[in-house]
Symmetry: C2
Subunit: 187 residues, 2 copies
């Protein structure tokens, strides 16, 4: 209906602000690094979305002058905003409108030249392999710093759960790419 904090992006931002007050730029940075792995957004979406959230009473901002850097607007979540995310988070998640270009290309692979297709999947596999390694390094760091997953608090577990999804996803994807490439090469 167009209520503020209606879009998934809006809730993603509210979720970040539930943990700490942030500037639009800070939100952008988090949307690149940890959150971006499962919900990407650029600053040209974030700034307008923050304005929309503020118009809807979900967040408020105050200007913070800085020396050495441009001033920033630090956004803080309101009671309404917190209530809205808390309600949203346990609502059934929509299954993503599955759109995977690589799987489409696999489905149409009979149209391409075998060797070129194999090389493409080989390279794609390497990319996913690389991402997997980054995730696995993060996991090692978490286990080293935080101890046993069974004893994580809710916040840390939430973090770890998202990472586990990334690891499973990339591992499966990389394996599939290698398998496709191998078969296309005719072994």
């Amino acid at each position: 209906m167009g209520r503020a904090g209606d879009s998934v992006l809006g809730f993603a931002i509210l979720g970040l602000l539930a943990e700490a007050s942030l500037s639009g730029y800070d939100v952008k940075l988090r949307m690149a690094e940890p959150v971006g792995f499962f919900w990407r957004a650029s600053h040209s979406q974030i700034y307008p979305e923050l304005a929309k959230l503020e118009a809807g009473g979900m967040v408020v901002h105050k200007a913070v002058p800085q020396s050495g850097k441009p001033d920033k607007k630090v956004y803080e979540i309101t009671a309404d905003g917190l209530l809205a995310v808390r309600e949203w988070v346990s609502l059934p998640a929509r299954l993503g409108p599955t759109r995977d270009e690589a799987t489409l290309k696999a489905y149409l692979s009979w149209l391409g030249e075998r060797g070129e297709m194999a090389e493409m999947f080989r390279e794609l596999g390497r990319k996913h392999e690389g991402q997997l390694e980054k995730y696995e390094e993060t996991e090692r760091w978490m286990l080293r710093e935080w101890g046993e997953p069974e004893e994580f608090g809710a916040r840390r577990f939430a973090n770890y759960a998202a990472l586990r999804r990334g690891i499973g996803f990339e591992r499966e994807y990389a394996e599939w790419c290698r398998w496709v490439a191998e078969k296309l090469e005719g072994r």
Copy 2:
């Protein structure tokens, strides 16, 4: 740049038309069933896209009167169109702009009520489990009808490769959901 057949959807359609001439409705049906698992599109996207492809010389149509049913427009791929898909298919696939609502909700799960969150992931896991079973049934059918994957022709292999991705994806996803639910329930 806005050339016809520029969008992934355009190439998806060209790929379908490379195998057989189809009406917009037929394309829609394939976008629901096998293709829709990795590239979803509704008829409100398909009809305009076909018109765009035709304007760009990638496809041509002829009206086919039918008795008992409304007339249809059957689209056929042109030499230009075929060349365009063939080139596109072995070009590096963009990594999908990862947007997965469920992983976002896992990341923000500390904001929700434990039991509700667990139930949500439990239910989501069931959905992915159901999809997995459908895919596995299709796989059994393929192996029964087509024999050994090693002896599939390029077309059948392409089909099978996309299915294998679906199976891996759903299996991993369902497992992750179960794992999250279990941990949230505190076992």
